[in-house]
């Protein structure tokens, strides 16, 4: 087993390919996170602000989140009219998932910002948009960060499925290993996927701590 792994990883060309797949995997899984945050914040705000919208949006999000990834990967190009082989399909599909994942926590986090804080900001003369960006949104960051962490782990795992539709990423190691009955690439793929998930998670924790110094000072969570 270890001899197999050694032989597999001993090839420079293979290592370079693995590195390429890893890079693909990173952007295929993390770009959707960036897009989803940009989408989920306004949508979550809309849910927070307009109650009737909330039920509809969150209901849609729940249903979308229920759709298995492999199905979504091929429904997206069908609906959007994009090429089946375009890597963007996976990015769109994962953006949809992650947005669905984040809308509700964002709305609930905004709900949880104490009224007196918002009132105080208004009283100090903040206009609505600056108030949202500088007061309400930062207070929602811890919840947003928790959602982003769940989304990143989930996306990193899901990108692999994309290999079935030829979208690249570490999943290629699974299809390659499978067709040749070769465990080494599959195991390397699994280990790298898990390691990537762990590293990204740690980075996100660090990022959240950097963005929310007040939660550290209090030593308690804000909700």
């Amino acid at each position: 087993m270890f001899a197999d792994l050694g032989k597999y990883l001993g090839n420079a060309g293979t290592r370079a390919q693995i590195a390429d797949h890893l890079v693909e995997h990173v952007y295929l899984s993390l770009l959707p996170i960036v897009f989803a945050v940009l989408l989920a914040v306004p949508l979550g705000w809309a849910c927070h602000r307009y109650r009737p919208l909330r039920g509809a949006l969150i209901g849609v999000a729940n249903v979308v989140y229920t759709v298995p990834s492999l199905a979504l990967f091929v429904i997206i190009p069908a609906v959007a009219g994009t090429q089946i082989l375009w890597p963007g399909n996976v990015i769109i599909a994962l953006t949809v998932y992650t947005t669905a994942l984040l809308i509700r926590p964002v709305a609930e986090a905004l709900d949880a910002v104490p009224d007196h804080v918002v009132a105080a900001a208004t009283a100090m003369g903040y206009r609505p948009l600056p108030r949202f960006l500088t007061v309400e949104l930062p207070l929602a960051v811890p919840v947003l960060a928790a959602g982003v962490r769940v989304g990143s782990v989930s996306n990193i795992s899901l990108v692999s499925v994309g290999a079935i539709i030829g979208s690249g990423g570490l999943g290629v190691l699974f299809t390659d290993g499978f067709s040749r009955r070769y465990l080494a690439p599959i195991l390397v793929g699994i280990v790298l996927t898990l390691a990537l998930a762990l590293v990204v998670d740690l980075l996100l924790v660090a990022l959240r701590r950097a963005l929310t110094p007040w939660t550290r000072a209090q030593g308690v969570s804000v909700a």
Partner: protein, 255 residues
């Protein structure tokens, strides 16, 4: 247009009969999913109740659950297939393996989440350990437990489709076969069936959840939601990454 192809595929009577027909595929998929989830529940619920009741092994359980959540399902099913040397049984075992953590986590979190005062009162009133578990902890754990089951079901529906890649039958078949020849009708039609099945099964389980969760617990959904938000924020909480419901904020694993 693609939806015309889908319509053509759907309206071809040949696709509705025989071993490769849609009803057979749906039945197969349903059977795999229900059987895998039921088996997983048989393993995970007693174990989760034990860990939650005694408090022993919770850290291991949560850590293990997180690792499995990050596990790429395609990698898992290919490894299982190759190690076992083929056949559908190892793949079905894989489905069970993936369905165990969400249910385990949900059950454990459910029992852990029961108000300490309630558990204390149960003992203080003279309930035996078993009475406390069955009469108090289990009923109160049901919302989170059912959430775990719903997550597990979604996971299994999704993974069973992916497992068509290693030869499993069910609704992943038309999807993958359609993909190989870019038969959009079959490809997207198969995908739509997978999506529909997942949504319907989740709906079904949400109905089951309404039926089994005691009324007294359903009356206070607002406070539970608040608790969930708070829990999501707190890094140190053991429940932070475990399933809470079959919903986007659940953190359950998927494929």
């Amino acid at each position: 247009m693609i939806f015309v192809d889908v319509w053509v595929w759907l309206s071809d009577p040949e696709n509705w009969s025989g071993a490769g027909g849609i009803p057979a595929r749906v039945g197969q998929h349903l059977l795999y999913c229900l059987a895998a989830t039921a088996f997983a529940a048989l393993i995970a619920v007693p174990l989760g109740l034990y860990v939650g009741h005694t408090g022993r092994g919770g850290v291991v359980l949560v850590g293990g659950g997180n690792a499995i959540r990050a596990l790429p399902t395609l990698g898992l099913v290919t490894v299982l297939y190759l190690v076992a040397g083929g056949g559908t049984v190892p793949v079905l075992i894989g489905l069970v393996v993936l369905a165990v953590p969400p249910i385990l986590a949900g059950t454990y979190a459910g029992v852990q989440d029961v108000d300490r005062g309630v558990v204390d009162a149960a003992s203080g009133m003279g309930m035996t350990d078993a009475q406390r578990l069955w009469q108090v902890e289990l009923p109160n754990a049901l919302p989170l437990l059912m959430g775990g089951v719903r997550n597990a079901m979604l996971q299994v529906v999704a993974t069973a489709s992916v497992a068509a890649y290693v030869g499993l039958g069910g609704l992943g078949r038309p999807l993958l076969d359609g993909l190989r020849v870019l038969d959009y009708g079959q490809l997207v039609g198969g995908a739509l069936f997978v999506a529909l099945l997942a949504v319907l099964l989740d709906l079904l389980l949400s109905v089951v959840q309404r039926l089994v969760v005691p009324r007294g617990l359903r009356l206070a959904p607002a406070s539970a939601a608040r608790r969930r938000v708070r829990r999501g924020v707190d890094d140190s909480s053991p429940q932070k990454l475990v399933a809470t419901a079959g919903q986007p904020d659940s953190g359950g694993s998927r494929a």
